[in-house]
């Protein structure tokens, strides 16, 4: 199908974009790369009255490392993240994840900010932000707000953004010494939305997890930072402990049913990912034995 009729405004600055959003509120939608918004409009899932195109706001583009913090502008495209040496060095989790985000032609247009603001619970980047402990920077009529990624995603396609606000950047700590990561997803076709996925960031000390952040996606209405990670921190992980954590994980998940998978199948796949992740990060293959999808 084709999008319903709408008016179009090309924003000339962040201030100009905020003025347009202030004037039109929830009747307006922000267009960045359009790789989530355009399908939704073509399918007539949404029919905004006004499109505010921020695609030419160069000030929202770019990757900057300052001190121990990585700042990524909202308009930075997936392909920019994929080709960035800063991302490879300082956020290898994100570098791994990006290869799973859609297909080359879509990564050439899709933006980080657009993906986060769209907040599809099956998409990779929101889960990465949660795993990386990112802060989302938002500009609105009242100035700038900083929102922790965990508080930013509030439901299916829902975020803490108000209709008058614009997502401008994300910040998160660079990978430190001892950092390891894991990214994997199950999908029918490479590049499709995940049936279940896991983005994990951890710190190893003496073969134990000093920190472990498990960002599951497609297991509920928003990316989930799994609490079972706490059971595995600062302890020697035994098969029994991992089995206990895996069982507890099931209770944290609230997966939906669709034509791709039942909730039981999604719970099973999430447990498989947890087991593989822990055994791989600890370099203990025996822990992952038997974890078959």
């Amino acid at each position: 199908m084709k999008a319903a009729a709408f008016a179009y405004a090309r924003a000339t600055s962040v201030v100009n974009a905020l003025e347009l959003l202030a004037a039109h509120g929830d009747k307006a939608k922000v267009l960045s790369g359009g790789q989530s918004l355009m399908p939704a409009m073509n399918l007539r899932l949404i029919s905004p009255e006004l499109i505010v195109d921020i695609g030419e706001l160069a000030e929202l583009r770019g990757i900057v490392v300052g001190g121990n913090v990585l700042t990524i502008g909202a308009l930075t495209r997936h392909v920019d993240l994929q080709k960035s040496p800063e991302i490879t060095t300082h956020a290898p989790l994100l570098a791994d994840a990006i290869a799973h985000v859609a297909h080359p032609a879509i990564r050439n247009r899709g933006t980080l900010g657009g993906s986060l603001a769209h907040a599809d619970p099956a998409s990779e980047l929101p889960a990465c932000m949660v795993a990386l402990g990112a802060t989302i920077l938002v500009c609105g009529p009242g100035g700038e707000r900083r929102i922790a990624a965990q508080q930013f995603f509030t439901g299916i396609y829902e975020t803490a953004l108000s209709p008058q606000e614009l997502l401008v950047a994300v910040k998160f700590p660079v990978a430190q010494k001892g950092s390891v990561h894991f990214f994997h997803e199950f999908a029918r076709r490479h590049g499709d939305y995940a049936i279940v996925g896991l983005a994990a960031q951890a710190i190893l000390e003496n073969d134990r997890f000093a920190d472990l952040r498990l960002g599951f996606f497609a297991v509920g209405d928003r990316p989930l930072l799994a609490e079972v990670a706490n059971k595995l921190i600062d302890v020697d992980v035994t098969p029994a402990l991992l089995a206990e954590a895996s069982a507890a994980l099931s209770n944290e998940l609230d997966p939906h049913e669709d034509q791709q998978a039942s909730p039981a199948m999604r719970r099973h796949l999430a447990r498989v990912l947890l087991t593989r992740c822990v055994s791989l990060l600890l370099s203990r293959p025996e822990l992952g034995a038997g974890a078959t999808a």
């Binding site: 009729a5 790789q35 399918l43 499109i51 195109d53 859609a102 032609a105 247009r109």
Partner: protein, 161 residues
């Protein structure tokens, strides 16, 4: 404000000036306004890849771009790549190996394959499959397409396939 918007861009190295409605997507602009019907419209939500074109040298889905977003851009369609001879060898390899049957996906396949061949001189079969993962073909089963892309890559670096 739903009025026509002025638009200027290059399409296959020719300057185009037009007035378009904001809702018009690039694929429909190319097909309906410029009669460049080599760009195919399949799913209209970015899944099938049949509408793939190049903008400023990079492949994109023309169904997921508004025509008004291409202001001052350089758009290349399959007509441009084909008429200019850029992909003559790739097209010949598709023919030779039966890498097309109905041909609906072929313009998008050629666009995506040429994009890969420009970035990576001799990609492996897995890399070819990954780069074409966003392009559906319902006839060939993909094997012959991967063969054709692989053969073209080898021929371009002077190896006999």
């Amino acid at each position: 404000m739903t009025a026509l918007v002025p638009l200027s861009l290059d399409v296959n190295d020719e300057r185009v000036d037009a007035y378009v409605l904001p809702r018009l997507n690039l694929a429909d602009f190319l097909r309906e306004h410029l009669k460049l019907t080599g760009t195919h419209v399949g799913c209209e939500h970015g899944v099938c890849g049949a509408c793939t074109v190049r903008i400023n040298g990079e492949i994109v889905r023309s169904c997921l771009m508004l025509a008004v977003q291409t202001q001052n851009a350089s758009v290349e369609t399959i007509e441009g790549l084909s008429d200019g001879g850029e992909i003559a060898d790739l097209q010949a390899a598709f023919r030779a190996r039966n890498a097309l049957q109905c041909g609906f996906c072929t313009p998008g396949m050629l666009m995506a394959a040429q994009d890969l061949l420009k970035q990576s001189s001799v990609p492996g079969r897995e890399q070819i499959r990954e780069h074409l993962s966003g392009n559906y073909c319902r006839c060939t089963g993909y094997q012959a397409i991967v063969d054709a892309v692989e053969a073209t890559a080898q021929a371009r670096v002077g190896r006999v396939p």
